[in-house]
């Protein structure tokens, strides 16, 4: 199979991944937006109406906007990762019967998820802008950089976990709670300035936290280029991608034995 047909197969898989998501549902693609919107409104209800959290001290936007700017990058990451993790087992029938490069289904699952969630993010950003809140569009390069780094990380982890999932089905069971915990370890419903000083370096060790904070500060403060933290996080993401790819390459010839 040459590079061209691999690319074409990837495109076909990704198309199918997107249409699978909404196959048979009446609202179709709208669900990609409705689900995060519902999540956003719930968080807003809990934090602003019930707990009366004041807007974070160093921001000028309402809490809802503040939350939305970090929630979508998180969803981009978490959704891509969980879809990617299940992609190999989900395509067991193909893996067992047809010779092809197995990593394509992982790439396709991550890419489809990424594209859908980023589309949702764009809609939200436009909505925020038109509702009168000033966003710093000069921060766009940093936003793109952070999202790409998150995509690298999600792809790397998805390669790693999807390959392990074939042999140890507990991976899927473990992933959901871990993602639930990591969500709160990232500055999404809070800002880094609210984290106690002694704890902050530990939170910064998490590349997801750095990149999400990167997106938010780019849009709220106009930081245009990756700083030292974002650069290091980006390198970590590439490292994970390479590791995931190596593990996947090692395990993929054995998939048929375990599926």
């Amino acid at each position: 199979m040459n590079d061209n047909s691999s690319w074409w197969l990837f495109v076909r898989f990704a198309q199918r991944e997107v249409s699978n998501r909404f196959a048979g549902s009446l609202l179709g693609g709208l669900w990609a937006l409705l689900h995060p919107l519902a999540l956003l409104l719930t968080y807003n209800f809990v934090f602003t109406s019930v707990m009366r959290v004041r807007p974070p001290p160093d921001t000028t936007v309402p809490f809802l906007v503040f939350l939305a700017l970090a929630l979508w990058p998180w969803l981009v990451f978490a959704d891509s990762l969980s879809r990617g993790t299940l992609s190999v087992v989900g395509n067991a029938a193909l893996v067992k019967k047809i010779p092809f490069a197995h990593e394509l289904v992982v790439y396709a699952a991550v890419a489809a998820s990424f594209a859908l969630q980023v589309a949702g993010f764009v809609v939200v950003l436009l909505f925020v802008t038109f509702s009168g809140h000033e966003l710093h569009w000069t921060g766009l390069p940093l936003v793109v950089y952070c999202l790409l780094a998150l995509a690298c990380l999600a792809t790397g982890l998805a390669l790693l976990l999807s390959a392990l999932q074939v042999f140890v089905r507990d991976v899927e069971q473990g992933l959901a709670p871990v993602l639930g915990i990591v969500f709160y370890l990232c500055p999404i419903v809070y800002t880094m300035t609210m984290v106690p000083d002694w704890l902050r370096p530990w939170v910064w060790l998490n590349p997801v936290a750095v990149l999400i904070e990167g997106v938010r500060s780019a849009l709220l403060k106009g930081h245009a280029w990756p700083g030292q933290m974002e650069a290091l996080a980006g390198l970590a993401c590439i490292g994970v991608l390479v590791l995931g790819w190596l593990v996947f390459r090692r395990l993929s010839p054995h998939f048929e034995e375990a599926l």
Partner: protein, 400 residues
Amino acid sequence: MSAAGDDLPLISLRGVGKAYPVHASAGSQLASLWAKLRGAPHAASRFQALQDISFDIQRGASTALVGVNGAGKSTLLKVIAGVAKPSSGEIITRGRVGALLELGAGFHPEYTGRENIGLSCALMGLSPAQTRQHVDRIIDFADIGSHIDQPVKHYSSGMVVRLGFAVATALTPDLLITDEVLSVGDESFQRKCITWMEGYLNNGGTMLLCSHSMYHVQKLCAHALWIEGGRVRLSGSAADVTRQYLAWHDERAAEARKLQPAAAAAGGSIYHVRSMLLNDMHTDEPVVLPERGTLVVTGTVHSPDDRVPQIAVGVVKLDGTPVAGCYSEMDGFVMRKLEPHLYAYRLVLPRLPLLPGAYVARSHAMDPEGMRMFDHVELRFDVAGQARETGICKLEHEWS
């Protein structure tokens, strides 16, 4: 189909083995995963599906795999197709290999037939341009009418395989690997598939197929490999291998039925066969006849009341399939008295129209009224020959 390297085999297998891990506990599962990650062999309990398989397939020398279920045929095809990785040995491939291990394997039930053609073609390595070029012919070949625009989940299993095979016809690999795909679909569709395969072979294609139909094996392939217990038991011309395989298969079926031991003791109170010979040969080996040879069955029958008993002689295949039966009572034959209580018979079966294979002749003692059949004695005989017709017997025929 490329002409490069015509003298080299399309595929060479050298000492190929495949073992599947058998996990008793979660611990051994993790240990085996860790071994795979390190790339080290893992000494867990393993099921050896294939062992030390070596053969070549030359361009144009289509080959069939025969063997009972569970012999390792499908695993071997998977390993050659590249779906499974051999645990030992090596496989050298020259030229494009197309694999059709299961018809419609890439189909998604929610999508229409037409939509599924797209991904299936992409999975087989066709570009969008090639897919567009083939799509009409694929739909035409599948011949499932307006169902092509219905979701595959509404298809009958027959329609799925029709479309599955149709998609595969877009391929023209140097070597086409198929697993039992000819056993599906109705008669007319099977004929269509065979016609396509013959066309593919005539255009220089080579096939590696796995089939339980010896007819298909002989029709499509020049060579055959008999796989038994994960090893090559016999390799040779398709005619030879299928004949020996069938003989073995019949024998196994016969053993499973547990041949009746011959009634031994002399005397006794019922009619029974005392002795039986084929072609007057006193041997434990099966008697071997040429095609259209003569079989002479002789024997003696014990009569407890000294009335003249009747005799029936039957011919069955080794697996018990009846071929023919002759009755002394119907033919008005009266057995010769040798001594008190002992009668003799002799039956000549000239120019036996049996096809090569293993058979059994049976003598059944019957009461003088020809009503009841008592114990029987049986002897095996083989018909040797090169005839390639299928079935049991050779019918006189002429074409015009």
